[in-house]
Amino acid sequence: MTDASVTDERQIIDVGEFYELVTVHLESAFGRRHPRWVRGEVSKVYEKTHLYLDLVDAGSSESDAKRPVLNAHCWASQWNALKRRITSDGVSLRPGAVVNLFGFVDVYAPSGRLGFTVLDVDVAGLLGDVTRRRLELIGRLRDEGLLDANRSRPLSPVPLRVGLVASRQTEGFSDFTGQLLRSAFSFEIILANTSVQGEAAPALLEAAIKRLDQEELDVICVVRGGGSRGDLACFDDERVARAIAGARTPVFTGIGHTGDESVADLVAHTRAITPTKLGEDLVSMVHEWRRRHVTLPARTINDAAVSLLDEASVFLGERRRTMIFAVRDRLRAEARHLAAVREHLSIGARHVLERATQWLESSRLLVVAYDPQRRLAQGWSIVTTMDGAVVRRVADVRRGDTVAVRVVDGVLQATITSDERTEL
């Protein structure tokens, strides 16, 4: 048996078939249908539409040329969703980060490379150490009674003098100050411009808080816009937390975006979820104070003044009408009384007149009855002397005297020729 015959008996496959064979075997154990979790430290990251990263064993030395490397990639169709989730967790895939990748093996024949297609990323491992340190710090602060120390500081009901710890160039600064400046309240902002991320930030933040605490301020606001958990790490720093807890001025925080809660937030007097919200809260406090102590009293005074005037007007109007009616009634009563008296008098007078008239008529009739003319007509005559004296008795004349005898239709003259007295 020659070497050639031996060679002929071997199953010889070409390169392409080799890779197909390898792919089949790998896929049967680690392929798409058998994805696995792989833990490693990110050594390189490159993102351009898709994500490419090299993973090595955590803690391995970069100088070790023989350390195993896993060339992982995450296609854009998967990466976009994963990236959103990772970002929301406040984590980024950076060199040095330890991460668990879920995926499957693939073989890229043209370069002869074994790759790893990523389907999912677990960042719990990344967060673990940070979380532990953070919890330890919170525990220490709690034991020392510092979690509520700043919260017990008395807060001005009208916090208009505001110390601001922020970076002037950041959106957080603009968002916060924008709320105050647009409010129309006369906020006075004393800025301690400082870096709000990076390794130097904790010391700078601590110094800024302490410096502002020396001023006569109503409140100190620590402001920083949203960012990754790493960007916001300075607000989990013990120096910053102790500066806030020890401040005699109430310290408000507006750090990151919704969901972030730093240790600085925990020890602060008041925490807002964003710089914008913190600005709104300050404005609301002043607004509420103004509403309670200016607006509502003004409204009450206005309403009371109008009400009091209306009440006084009604009172006067009623009294005026009552007076008019009372006087009118009284005068009518008097008029009725006078009318009754007048009527009574009138009736009485009429009776008097009637009686007088009757008396007069009786008198008249009596007078008529004694009318001499009537007596003369009946045959009686009146004898008078020539000088007009009535002759009543025989003795009133003497024989020879001439007398006038008045009869009904004239006067006769007669001479007394005899006299004879008769006994009465």
Binding site: R299, L309, A312, F315, L316, M323, A326, V327, R330
Partner: protein, 70 residues
């Protein structure tokens, strides 16, 4: 005869009205009391008019403060 403070004057006015209601007022008293009541009403009305004028001047200024929140 002077007119006292609002409450004092109002009480005096009430007393006059009450005496009218009782019907015990003579015609002579009626004139005296009516004259006094008229004097009080005119004085109070003058005060009311003056006060309302002041309130009318101040109310819009207060209202501006009172409605700032709306």
């Amino acid at each position: 005869m002077t007119v006292g403070g609002w409450n004092e004057a109002a009480e005096e006015l009430n007393a006059i009205v009450a005496s009218f209601d009782d019907g015990e007022v003579s015609v002579d008293d009626l004139i005296v009391k009516l004259a006094r009541a008229t004097e009080i009403i005119e004085a109070l009305d003058a005060r009311l008019v003056a006060t309302r004028a002041t309130v009318d001047e101040l109310a819009p200024r207060i209202a501006r403060v009172a409605t700032d929140d709306e």
